[in-house]
Symmetry: C2
Subunit: 215 residues, 2 copies
DNA sequence: TCAAAAATACTCCTTAAGGAGTATTGCTCC
DNA sequence: GGAGCAATACTCCTTAAGGAGTATTTTTGA
């Protein structure tokens, strides 16, 4: 099944010990695969990478200390040959797109079964871009390969969007930030433009979908 | 550590094979515990319960075919002595409250480590109500024991709330449902009353928090 | 240091949402 | 079969949000 010359060295990064235990079971039951590291945070990973030889990283994208998209980008910059497979509960189109465009070779849902996981790992090592089977049914690979148009927000805009998402009115936000309600109106209008919509709730939904603001 | 007279019979219900593998590892490494069943859906569980003897159920609350709160209530009605521990990624106060008030003896985050999980299982079997340690730090048990005031919505109200949550305006909803925009206004007003707020975004946030509408 | 980008603040106007009622028609359950 | 709830629809009024501009002051990066 795997390249026989030597074991494939795998790392798992996930803040769920149960998932790590599960991956351990899956990998240890397979000749040709070797688990050479397990980390619960992005920091723990970056502290150790470079000190160990790795072929493939299974990367949870919701870690306590960073989002998977930027972690993936950085990993790929430092180690272009590293195969990264995202491991996540999230099945939003926008997130999957961003991960694949950040250099991930695959995207696995945590609902995937061990067999599915092994298949994806094999495909990824062979240079293919893969999804877990549940995702394959729901998403078109061609669509996922298109660049995702995510509006770029300034920090002030992000801040105001978060307050709006919390259900605050323009007046309340103005009071919170010690600025004129009219300024808040301007930022709100910019947000509506950038998200190409006419109501804030839709903008908030879109922002949550693309990970701009937390859920 | 455990009652020595016989093994504690445990069942795991989770739609994530990886988590099941992880729990297997945790339980099999422990004398006194025995995994007597593993299920990926609420239906699979209810089909088999009654046919096997069980002491404790680890219950994922986000299953593909039902929500943990109602599953927990039903289990407790049929098997009052069964110890149920919720297992979830969600750490919303409202959800935890509802689970505990539905008869769960504990609430574990999936980020809990094996040791934490075993401790909670022991506490629960001893009649205590327990949380994983991360939750213990963030929530007051007294607060969690208070009944959660969740507004009861009619089906029409739920339907309209979902459309509002999707970012639709009253006019659009009226067109979708073939009713007068004024009727939508009435329902909207009722929703604001029931959620005790003055804006729909807050109502939507509260509804999502208490699981009334999906995220 | 200077131009671009970001943050601030405003006007004028339109539309949608929120607040507080009232009222009629169906169900449906005991 | 009638009380009660759900769903429907309305009025009148206030406030907040959205649309389309313009303009000044900071900040910041090249």
């Amino acid at each position: 099944m795997w390249d026989n010359s030597r074991n494939i060295r795998v790392i798992i990064v996930d803040d769920h010990p149960l998932v790590i235990e599960g991956i351990k079971n899956v990998i240890q039951g397979n000749d040709g695969l070797e688990l050479v590291g397990q980390f619960g945070s992005a920091k723990a990973l970056s502290d150790c990478l470079g000190m160990i030889e790795v072929d493939l990283v299974l990367l949870d994208i919701t870690l306590p200390d960073g989002n998977g998209i930027s972690i993936c980008k950085e990993l790929k910059k430092s180690y272009p040959d590293l195969v990264i497979i995202a491991l996540s509960n999230l099945s939003e189109r926008s997130i999957i797109k961003q991960m694949l465009q950040s250099g991930a070779s695959g995207y696995l849902l945590k609902t995937a079964d061990p067999c599915d996981i092994l298949n994806c790992m094999q495909d990824a090592l062979n240079g293919k871009i893969t999804l877990s089977s549940e995702l394959k049914e729901n998403f078109d690979m061609a669509v996922l390969s298109e660049p995702e148009e995510i509006p770029e927000l300034t920090i002030r805009e992000k801040q105001i969007l978060q307050l709006l998402a919390a259900g605050k009115t323009s007046a309340e936000i103005a009071a919170d930030l010690f600025i004129s309600p009219l300024t808040v109106k301007t930022h709100r209008a910019t947000l509506l433009h950038k998200f190409e919509t006419g109501n804030i709730l839709t903008a908030v939904n879109k922002a949550r979908e693309s990970g701009i603001i937390p859920r």
